[in-house]
């Protein structure tokens, strides 16, 4: 049995696949090494929900059989990966990160899991998450069956959520890539806090069949990985129409960033305030340098303002109403009280009393949001902003409210702080890129674009990462 070199745990999908094809190591050796690492280090960060070592080794054995016959099956062949524990894997526990569902087992694979398997990726584990993907809201990082996601860069800090285990596992080199989900920030936030690359796809591009539903009209599944290119390769594999998902757009995605318009023709919108006075002071130097790198790509930079809507209130109303409807049996049975986070329990209960009129008003305003974003994207190809305006908070501290554009008194927003709920309400794709450090914690920028424009985001991401090495940095604790 060959020892897998340490650098491989932080390599990209094409790098590992090239060496696998060259038979530097077998798929079984690779799967065993990643399983060992996931089982050893995953619990240290509360990142592991379930190791799938045995099924991974069987799958890797099949891959080795193929490779012996020179049968190559695409870039994910033999690549060890993980999925957020809101995706069902047949006959294995699927906990949704929540105590009331700790013993839940489905007899079918989620479509995204099935597609990874068809691409010969090797699923080594299910990854921890915030319970019920955060529900309407949660007050503490500890809101999970597996405890607070601990940041590989500093275990006293939070990993971000709700795809906490997915962010941690990629950052700490426990998997090569992972699937997460986003309703309003759950891919972008852990990507930013853990220093990995995360892609939130356009709503409907990836089937959610077999995934826990939190909000039918806002849930999306997407990759967290080392690079923008890796995200593109994974999205290509998991995207596509699915009659089993009523929200499916019936479209696929082919990773081809080389065919989007020339960089010099790309117009990027931003708000100067984001990089000067809105971001936390410690994060500003990294964000400002990242902005200069984006400018140096030769794109045209223009100032933009978000359409003026109360995005936080809109997202809050939509998610609360839909989540409380979805989990009504849990609430009515009283088992909701078994959840870890009291904010989550209260939010689910209260959500049942939202009047139909309030939900419909939110959904009607959403139509206006979509129209205004269409107009905005007539003038720009992408919007640049900080992924988060500061670094990961301490695990022990109560979490602030999610980024919203207006506060409760309806004051106007500063910068593009409402872009996460706004982009999710409008179903827009977004890419988070690590861009430096503040106080030894990762900082990241995001690019957001019109629906189905993932290749443009990935093109910009590739070029940004060709000029920087933040995505190559390794957390020190993970190597101990």
């Amino acid at each position: 049995m060959k020892a897998i070199p340490d650098d491989l745990f932080f390599a990209t999908i094409p790098e590992i696949h090239t060496r696998l094809i060259a038979k530097e190591f077998s798929a079984r050796e690779l799967a065993r090494a990643f399983s060992d690492r996931l089982e050893k280090l995953g619990p240290r960060y509360n990142a592991l929900s379930l190791s799938l070592r045995q099924s991974a080794l069987r799958r890797a054995h099949d891959v080795d059989d193929d490779l012996k016959r020179d049968r190559t099956r695409g870039p994910l062949q033999g690549i060890p990966c993980g999925v957020k524990d809101l995706l069902s894997v047949a006959h294995q526990p699927t906990t949704w990160g929540a105590p009331p569902y700790a013993g839940q087992v489905f007899d079918f694979d989620a479509t995204a899991v099935k597609k990874l398997d068809k691409a010969n990726a090797v699923l080594v584990g299910k990854l921890a998450m915030v319970e019920l993907a955060g529900g309407p809201s949660y007050g503490f990082a500890s809101a999970s069956l597996t405890g607070a996601g601990l940041n590989p860069w500093d275990r006293s800090r939070w990993s971000g959520g709700s795809s906490s285990g997915s962010g941690i596992a990629v950052a700490a080199g426990l998997v090569v890539f992972a699937l997460g989900s986003e309703t309003s920030g759950s891919i972008l936030t852990p990507s930013a806090f853990c220093g990995v690359t995360g892609l939130r796809p356009t709503y409907g591009l990836v089937s959610r069949y077999g995934a826990m539903a939190l909000s039918w009209t806002m849930d999306k599944i997407g990759p967290l990985a080392r690079t923008a290119e890796d995200c593109g390769l994974v999205l290509q594999t998991i995207s596509g129409g699915d009659g089993k998902d009523p929200g499916s757009a019936g479209k696929g995605f082919y990773y081809a960033p080389q065919y989007v318009k020339q960089t010099s023709e790309i117009v990027v919108g931003y708000s100067p305030a984001d990089f000067s006075d809105v971001a936390e002071p410690a994060a500003r130097p990294a964000l400002q340098k990242a902005f200069e790198v984006i400018r140096s790509l030769g794109v045209k930079i223009v100032e933009v303002k978000l359409p003026d809507f109360p995005y936080g209130a809109l997202a809050g109303t939509v998610i609360s109403t839909e989540a409380s409807s979805i989990f009504e049996p849990l609430i009515q049975s009283g088992k909701v009280d078994e959840l870890v986070d009291k904010h989550q329990i209260a939010g689910l209960r209260a959500g049942l009393s939202i009047p139909a009129n309030q939900y419909l008003k939110a959904m009607r305003i959403r139509s206006l949001v979509q129209t205004e974003f269409r107009k905005l994207f007539d003038g720009v190809d992408a919007i640049l902003s900080p992924s988060r305006y500061g670094t990961a908070p301490k695990v022990s501290e109560p979490l602030g409210r999610p980024a919203a554009s207006h506060n409760d008194s309806g004051e106007a927003p500063r910068g593009l702080t409402g872009l996460i709920p706004a982009g999710n309400l409008a179903g827009l794709p977004a890419l988070s890129l690590p861009c430096g450090f503040a106080e030894n914690l990762p900082v990241a920028i995001s690019l957001c674009s019109r629906p189905y424009n993932e290749n443009l985001l990935l093109r910009l991401g590739n070029e940004f990462q060709a000029r920087t090495d933040w995505h190559r940095r390794r957390p020190p604790v993970a190597e101990a």
Binding site: P310, K342, K361, R374, P451
Partner: protein, 63 residues
């Protein structure tokens, strides 16, 4: 010297404490009230948006 309480005074004091305890909201009730307040705040913000009568709810989420 210990203060002397009549049985009637003691019963009154205990009843008062019990009443106060009953009135003090449990933490879970605080959370639920806060969640309801947030929902009302959200409704208040939505009410401020000018909404043309012809606007239908969003059903599709693409360009």
């Amino acid at each position: 010297m210990e203060p002397k309480l009549t049985r009637r005074e003691l019963a009154g004091a205990l009843a008062g404490t019990a009443l106060l305890q009953a009135q003090a909201p449990a933490p879970a009730e605080d959370e639920t009230a806060a969640a309801r307040t947030q929902i009302q705040n959200n409704a208040g913000q939505l009410d401020k948006v000018a909404l043309p009568m012809a606007t239908e709810p969003a059903f599709r989420f693409e360009a």
